[in-house]
Symmetry: C2
Subunit: 196 residues, 2 copies
């Protein structure tokens, strides 16, 4: 029974967050009704995703190339680095159309309860970049306890280096994750970023 | 841009019914945060699902073997064949614990509006089985317009052969798809199946 391909596929689909066994069963049966190549196309794309994307050596975003295309783009300003928790937060900042600087991805936020300290984040890599012409670091971590703690921690590290440290303005409702903010709120938050 | 593995993966995940681009993006980023083997395991399971499962030559259910394990099971009665629209409906009947006969999967229901006529269903395969000791055909198509039309069509074909034709009792609420019925309703519907 444990080798039944249907049960295996359902169990694997149910690993996705927000997809329970009932939904996974629906998706698996849907796949079985599609032309034979559909399952292969979806499956291959998932395999390729994880094999092709690796952290950029500069900004730690996940990318098919290193340095990634944003780090390699000469039209972006080296003077401003926007620090985010997750790769998907970059899309939210970019969609505002108001940001022309660089990015840095921490891959998380300081959260003692989850066992995440500064050493688990890409902070060393951020500090290593600051000598390359940065005159402002914009902290765009989430407006929650972990994001605020991370911003405070970074501000204390970076300000003594003589670099301006700013924080996204509270145009974004507290409790909302950056990834899901609407683009006009993000635009306002960029515009009103404040000194720390 | 069209070769970006992340965009490809998001587009592929968004092919699933009920998964929009936003959810697909969430799932793709979740995958990227998992250990490297997770995406491969899920992807391979989807590929294997479609490659391993094919219609059973007897009952037309999707199975890794043909005849499938239910058709090969000598403890089941050949006298009673339960006809369902979809492979996943079999699980609903089985979960009632009251059925010991055989199954036949039509892979759909007659629906002129969707261009599905009797020729698109596995009706020929059903008729070919009726000589093998069947004395009752239980029609377990959905209690909706298409399922009722299909049941009526099959009853007119099969009754002249001198075989008893029954229909699941209306213990299942009209409008509910069989796949999602609770097991006690299914048990009652089996018990009260009526002559057609």
């Amino acid at each position: 029974m444990s080798e039944d391909p249907l049960r295996i596929a359902v169990a694997q689909l149910a690993r996705f967050p927000g997809i329970g066994e009932r939904t996974a069963t629906r998706l698996a049966y849907w796949l079985l009704q599609q032309p034979e190549e559909v399952a292969g196309e979806i499956g291959q794309a998932l395999v390729a995703l994880r094999e092709a994307l690796h952290p950029c050596e500069v900004c730690c975003d996940l990318s098919a190339s290193s340095p990634c295309r944003r780090c390699a783009d000469p039209r972006r300003s080296d003077g401003l680095i926007c620090v985010v928790e997750r790769p998907q937060d970059i899309g939210a900042i970019e969609s505002s159309g108001e940001f022309r600087g660089r990015f840095h991805v921490l891959h998380g936020a300081i959260s003692p309860l989850d066992g995440v300290g500064p050493d688990q984040l890409r902070i060393k890599e951020l500090l290593a970049r600051l000598g390359d012409g940065a005159d402002e670091v914009l902290l765009a971590t989430d407006p929650d306890v972990e994001g605020d703690a991370t911003a405070l921690y970074l501000a204390r590290l970076i300000k003594p280096l003589g670099i301006r440290v700013t924080r996204l303005a509270h145009g974004i409702a507290v409790g909302t994750e950056l990834e899901y903010a609407d683009r006009s709120s993000v635009a306002r938050a960029l515009e009103h970023r404040r000194e720390m």
